[in-house]
């Protein structure tokens, strides 16, 4: 039951249940590793046990003789991956996706690098045989310690080559302003490496249908980009590669790329001439599919005694591998968030002997806004000003970076609604001043923002002879409920009940759509579905107009309503004409349209962002320093909410991820070995049931008329941005202790007595 008090949506009860709810609760949803094939072979990866060096020998004789083994693949017997060419592995940093080539040579770039693959009849046989492979290495000195190597950080080579890169050094206004500020804070914030760890481990089944025809069932966030990548790597015509990813057990960014293990599995399937399945063990999920990079940020803020920000400098340094760049938005939010005339940002990269990071929910912004919003809280405390009041006094009425009007911004309303729901006015200004039942009580808040992303998308909409509707697009659902939202868009326009609509996704043979990332699915694919359904509606109205029944002879869609697949003219509300009858009359088996939707000149006329804020209450034990999140209120302005029920779940999910980021998540490396110590859920802690309270989700729910035809800006990323800061700020309010290095563990609160 949706608690109405938690809702700003006028019609929450009209939300659709998840269209794939039934298959998910009955176990019938088929994820990548679950497609049945006769003669399916099972693969197990063997990974390097050193962080840098080269392989001197791989002893596979015993493994090769083990029962059931079909192949042991490594660089020693790799027949060649055509798209890799004959170039040497790049010794210097290369753009993303071109650097590391699996089973290419014996060079080791990081601990956990895949170096061989055993393929056998069964999983058990493959695991056993993998234990029989012996590898010798020539070890070189590795560098994995971020702090120790920080001075080596540089401007990324791709940024050096591109004057228009947003990661160029940025200065606006007058740097002198900092010197003249009444109040100054200067602090360093650290977030450790954090891993996506979706509950479903990455998995693939590779099937060569013919020598030049490949089908992969793969956990990824973009079937079209995966199709393109695999076609390039294996030098196949794009249309000969099919990628199926209908159900994805979470990803949060880990599936945006085609990773080396996927390529290795496709290669193995080619070698053994059978379908091959690989499921990454949980321990490999720490070294195979990217992570949120370790990042150090220095922020200096100057403010007037009236609480106006006079200057901000924000320097961020992120970690990447020795072989590849990975850039994040870390410092970019600072340029747009507040009305501050003097802002400087710097962004640097540090190459270490680790695997390449990738985007993780709210990439860059979740990191950057932890620092900026913590720093704002420090400024508020220095000024003895309410943290929310400080943000209101520095509200940016237009984009201070691009000097453009916002397409829409209701952040002030977010603050107001959130604060009221939370009871922010009951917060006392001084830390350690609120107590309840022997616990220290802290109220914290933070703002959030996320840039708007929309990519060209296509959708096909079909009315079948029986009056049901099929909508198709090669989009994805990693969990937010893409099919449900698209069904709602189609249902509204075509006047058909949800149960009579089928939405197809996760198949590269469907109409073009972007991958699921950057909160772009609803803005991009939702727009395409909207346009396709409108077009289909007009087409069927035109067909109705040509029928002898006079009511529909003037095909003005605005005068026609549709209910349950039946058209009604405003002139005659009694007599309708059904989709079934229209198709039957015209002797059509079905009626379909395919439409494309993309951005226009509005992208240069407005600055487009989503905004929001989070309010958090924590209780901290004065005895043990244990932090418990007791209450969260989040409010987002993301334009029009398409389906309230699934949107709310997405917001809650972002908060839960943010609580994990704030209080428990850290991938800890043993630098003597250059190896993660945290390789499972017992050591890499993510929130569990007992960590998460009820969460209030509020939306402004007003369409942003400038961004796209549906007025919706996407939600997944902004849901987590700022959450960690709101928690950290609440912990400061409870304890008086400012923790600037995540996660906020007990030991960081007990360095001195609280």
């Amino acid at each position: 039951m949706t608690d109405k008090s938690q809702s700003t949506n006028p019609e929450p009860d009209l939300s659709f249940d998840r269209v794939d709810g039934h298959v998910k609760v009955t176990g019938a949803a088929t994820y990548s590793a679950e497609y049945p094939f006769d003669h399916l072979a099972h693969a197990v990866l063997i990974t390097s046990t050193i962080a840098k060096g080269k392989i001197t020998s791989i002893e596979t004789k015993l493994a090769g003789q083990a029962p059931g083994v079909l192949a042991v693949v490594s660089h020693l017997n790799n027949p060649g991956i055509p798209g890799y060419g004959i170039a040497k592995q790049p010794a210097e940093r290369a753009p993303m996706g071109t650097a590391f080539r699996i089973f290419y040579d014996g060079l080791i770039y990081f601990d956990g690098q895949p170096v061989a693959m055993v393929v056998a009849e069964t999983f058990e046989q493959a695991v056993h045989a993998a234990s029989l492979v012996h590898i010798d290495y020539e070890v070189e000195v590795h560098q994995t310690n971020f702090e120790a190597n920080l001075p080596k950080a540089t401007i990324a080579p791709s940024v050096q080559k591109n004057k228009n890169s947003p990661f160029q050094d940025y200065d606006r206004g007058n740097a002198e302003a900092m010197t003249n500020a009444d109040v100054k804070i200067n602090a360093t914030y650290i977030i450790p490496t954090q891993h996506h760890q979706p509950l479903e481990p990455h998995a693939i089944i590779a099937v060569w249908e013919a020598d030049d025809r490949l089908t992969v069932y793969d956990k990824n966030q973009g079937v079209k980009s995966a199709q393109g990548n695999l076609a390039q790597i294996f030098k196949l015509p794009r249309e000969n590669v099919k990628v199926i990813s209908k159900f994805i057990g979470g990803a949060f960014g880990s599936g945006i790329r085609v990773w080396p293990h996927t390529i290795a599995t496709v290669l193995a399937a080619k070698i053994v001439k059978r379908p091959v399945k690989l499921v990454l063990g949980r321990e490999l999920m720490f070294t195979s599919v990217g992570y949120r990079p370790y990042t150090v940020q220095k922020i200096e803020i100057g403010a007037t005694k009236e609480g106006k920000l006079s200057a901000i400098t924000h320097e961020g340094t992120g970690q990447t591998s020795a072989y590849e760049e990975h850039l994040e938005r870390t410092i970019l939010a600072t340029r747009a968030m507040y009305a501050c005339p003097n802002v400087s940002t710097r962004y640097r990269l540090l190459n270490l002997d680790v695997n390449t990071p990738t985007w993780m929910r709210g990439p860059g912004d979740a990191t950057g806004m932890f620092a900026l919003e913590s720093a704002l809280d420090e400024v508020a405390f220095a000024l003895q000003l309410d943290p929310l009041e400080l943000r209101l006094r520095n509200h940016a009425d237009s984009d201070p970076e691009r000097n453009l009007q916002w397409s829409a911004k209701s952040l002030k309303e977010c603050y107001e609604m959130g604060a009221q729901k939370f009871g922010w006015k009951n917060r006392s200004l001084q830390p350690r001043s609120m107590k309840l039942g022997g616990m220290l009580v802290g109220y914290g808040m933070a703002s959030s923002l996320y840039g708007f992303h929309r990519h060209p998308s296509k959708a096909k909409a079909i009315i079948l002879a029986n009056g049901s509707v099929v909508v198709q697009s090669a989009t994805m659902d990693i969990g937010p409920g893409t099919g449900t939202a698209m069904t709602r868009i189609a249902a509204k326009i075509l006047g058909v009940q949800a149960k009579k609509i089928r939405f197809d996704l996760g198949d590269s043979s469907l109409p073009d759509a972007p991958g699921q990332n950057g909160s772009s699915t609803i803005p991009s694919v939702g727009s395409a579905v909207h346009v396709a359904c409108e077009s289909l509606k007009n087409k069927i109205i035109a067909l109705a107009a040509s029928m002898p029944d006079g009511d529909f002879s003037k095909p003005d869609p605005s005068e026609i309503s549709i209910k349950n697949g039946v058209l009604y003219a405003s002139s005659n509300a009694e007599k309708g004409l059904s989709y079934v009858d229209i198709l039957k009359f015209h002797n059509l088996p079905q009626l379909e349209v395919t439409e494309e939707s993309k951005s226009g000149p509005e992208r240069d006329q407005f600055s487009m962002y989503s905004f929001g804020c989070h309010f958090v209450e924590v209780h901290v034990s004065p005895v043990t320093s244990e932090v418990r999140v007791k209450r969260v209120v989040t409010c987002a302005d993301v334009g029009k909410i398409i389906n309230y029920k699934t949107a709310r779940s997405q917001s809650i999910g972002g908060i839960v991820g943010g609580i994990g980021m704030a209080l428990m998540e850290a991938s800890v490396m043993d630098h003597r070995r250059g190896r993660y110590l945290t390789r499972d859920f017992a050591s890499y802690h993510i929130p569990v049931h007992a960590d998460i309270p009820q969460i209030d989700v509020l939306y402004i729910d007003k369409p942003d008329v400038h961004v796209n035809p549906i007025g919706s800006k996407g939600l997944g990323e902004i849901a987590i941005v700022g959450v960690a800061a709101a928690v950290a700020n609440a912990v400061f309010h409870a304890t008086g202790k400012r923790v600037r290095e995540l996660p906020i563990t007990v030991s960081k609160l007990t360095d001195d007595e609280i």
């Binding site: 039951m1 249940d17 998840r18 709810g21 039934h22 298959v23 998910k24 609760v25 009955t26 176990g27 019938a28 949803a29 994820y31 590793a33 679950e34 083990a66 029962p67 059931g68 069964t122 999983f123 058990e124 046989q125 056993h128 996506h196 760890q197 979706p198 509950l199 479903e200 481990p201 159900f247 994805i248 057990g249 979470g250 949060f252 499921v279 063990g281 949980r282 659902d477 990693i478 969990g479 937010p480 409920g481 029920k645 699934t646 779940s649 809650i652 999910g653 908060i655 839960v656 991820g657 499972d680 859920f681 017992a682 993510i686 929130p687 569990v688 049931h689 007992a690 998460i692 009820q694």
Partner: protein, 212 residues
């Protein structure tokens, strides 16, 4: 390799019927570490019972979702892999394979258990219920309905495990309050963060008094 019979009477002890299997298997286990594998081979086992890896296939009988099954398997196979790879019951999920995430939760003789932490051969004679066996026919289990209504999932991967645990949580009498539910469901991780919705779903079913 697999033989199904419908379990007509749930109260029937499969051990009785499968005593012949059981004795043979016990001998095989006892001998595994003592005798060369080829000495253990029984003449009446079918042609699939060839040595694999360092192990020899063993037979077991168990009831899965009301269907009695006789299977010969690699003794290294976990209950989870038996369900997913051999019985093609992929509703039970492999999340971590270390017993740390709860995605593989099934019921063994009515109690929740992590199927990744049990070898299949340890379940001889047991009654296994997986997510596929939770509902009866087209009628969803009350908790399945409540999960849909409260949107107790996003990606759906942890969902079968959450549901199997939720059933046990109520049956065990550990769903008396929100806090109690949170505590007794904490072995089931959800990375999408559907926790509050899951707790609301369990609370509603518990309070409804419906049989789970």
């Amino acid at each position: 390799m697999e033989e199904n019979t419908k379990a007509a009477d749930d109260t029937l002890d499969p051990l009785q019927e499968d005593r012949r299997f059981f004795l043979k298997q016990s001998v095989a286990f006892a001998g595994l570490s003592l005798a060369p594998a080829n000495l253990l081979r029984s003449g009446d086992w079918d042609s699939e019972d060839i040595p694999i890896g360092n192990a020899e296939k063993v037979k077991l009988a168990l009831t899965v979702n009301g269907v009695r099954k006789r299977i010969s398997i690699d003794p290294r196979t976990t209950l989870l892999d038996l369900l997913r790879e051999q019985l093609r019951l992929t509703g039970t999920k492999k999340g971590c394979d270390f017993g740390q995430c709860g995605a593989c939760t099934v019921h063994v003789d009515g109690h929740r258990m992590l199927s990744c932490l049990s070898f299949a051969v340890m379940q001889h004679g047991k009654k296994i219920t997986t997510i596929e066996g939770l509902s009866s026919g087209d009628q969803l289990h009350p908790l399945q309905e409540a999960f849909i209504k409260h949107d107790g999932f996003q990606c759906g991967y942890c969902t079968p495990g959450q549901l199997m645990s939720a059933v046990s949580c109520i049956r065990e009498g550990q769903a008396g309050s929100e806090v109690e539910i949170q505590e007794y469901m904490s072995g089931n991780l959800c990375r999408c963060g559907a926790y509050p919705n899951i707790v609301n779903a369990i609370t509603e079913v518990k309070n409804s008094g419906r049989k789970v």
